[in-house]
């Protein structure tokens, strides 16, 4: 399918790149990326992927936009308060780029629906804010043989890694199991600097774009951490041998998805967010 003059102009700064070209832009236009969580991480990631012309972007989130989201979730506006986050996100993305087919899933992702949900996508972004969801997404992606990018943010810190089937460790290889309850701060204590979602969410979008283009190196086998206080990135090499992993190893013992008990804030109906990560 040939690009229209409007598309050539819109994506001219991509097409001009040797690593992209018209061929690469067409790959983006034909690609399907699913973003789970339309929050601090999902918002910038969704906007960059939409602007880049990723042809189909799925976005899953059960929440509604809340005033306290707007300090970091830049895809939503003050006038969106009370609106489903997926609807607000879709409106922003389509206003930016009507080329993009945005599919919305206004629901909690759990063991009953995630495998079917991710099946039609090429790459998945984990922009969730709690451990049960992160392990669920990891295990489902391993089982469905899907590449995905994990990320998490808290306070002044962020991290991300990418899993590609047969090419490196999964999230469970590194983090094993969700931490015990109360071992990590919840939303009430933690907080996050708004721009952190922009830094890490943009890096997630970059992983998705490079995976689609087949260009350069991904964060497979590495965990990239960012400390904004020290203004320091660290690329941590992860152990190569993942044969004993309970989900992606040689003899997996986890063959069915697990719905770990959700960390609950006092008011879960969008008033507060569960904000916990691996620190």
């Amino acid at each position: 399918m040939a690009m229209t003059d409007e598309q050539i102009e819109r994506y001219s700064r991509h097409i001009i790149l040797k690593e992209v070209g018209a061929k690469g832009q067409k790959k983006l236009l034909n690609a399907k990326v699913l973003i789970i969580g339309a929050g601090g991480l999902g918002a910038p990631a969704a906007m960059y992927l939409a602007a880049a012309g990723v042809g189909t972007i799925g976005i899953a989130d059960a929440d509604e936009v809340d005033l306290s989201n707007l300090q970091r979730q830049i895809i939503h506006a003050t006038s969106d308060i009370g609106k489903a986050k997926v609807k607000s996100a879709k409106e922003t993305m389509n206003a930016m780029n009507p080329d993009v087919n945005v599919k919305t899933y206004h629901c909690f992702v759990d063991s009953t629906n995630i495998r079917e949900l991710i099946r039609e996508y090429d790459f998945i972004l984990d922009g969730t804010d709690n451990f049960p969801a992160k392990f669920l997404i990891n295990d489902a992606c391993v089982m469905e043989k899907k590449a995905f990018c994990h990320a998490g943010i808290i306070r002044f810190k962020g991290q991300l890694m990418t899993y590609v089937p047969n090419e490196g460790p999964c999230y469970r290889c590194v983090f094993k199991n969700p931490p015990p309850k109360d071992a990590v701060p919840t939303c009430k204590q933690a907080g996050v600097i708004g721009a952190m979602g922009g830094v890490i969410g943009s890096l997630m979008a970059m992983e998705a774009i490079k995976y689609i283009l087949g260009v350069g190196k991904l964060l497979t086998g590495y965990l990239l951490t960012y400390d904004a206080i020290e203004q320091e990135f660290r690329k941590v090499k992860l152990p190569k041998d993942n044969s004993s992993c309970k989900v992606c190893g040689k003899n997996p013992t986890i063959t069915q998805l697990i719905d770990y008990e959700q960390e609950v804030c006092e008011e879960t109906a969008g008033r507060f967010e569960v904000k916990i990560e691996n620190y």
């Binding site: 050539i8 102009e9 001219s12 700064r13 097409i15 040797k18 018209a22």
Partner: protein, 77 residues
């Protein structure tokens, strides 16, 4: 000079001049020749150089003597 496809970028401004020509050459097979009609000035300065940077082979730049030039480029993958 013989060519396989042609594209006119005289109605484009930088960087759409090269972008349009680049989209056209990507449609060709290795070894085929693209003829690109362009205005004198900035396009003549930049388009041939950009093709070279992408690894293609510049064959000829023909002065059409009407303020435009035609560049013949052989596609190299």
């Amino acid at each position: 000079m013989e060519f396989d496809e042609s594209v006119d970028i005289t109605d484009k401004v930088c960087p759409l001049t090269f972008v349009t020509a680049k989209v056209a050459i990507e449609e060709l097979d290795e070894g085929q020749v693209l003829a690109v009609r362009m205005n004198d000035g900035e396009p003549v300065q930049n388009v041939p150089r950009s093709f070279k940077e992408d690894g293609h082979r510049i064959l000829k730049l023909l002065d059409n003597e009407d303020g435009t030039y035609t560049l013949f480029v052989r596609k190299v993958e």
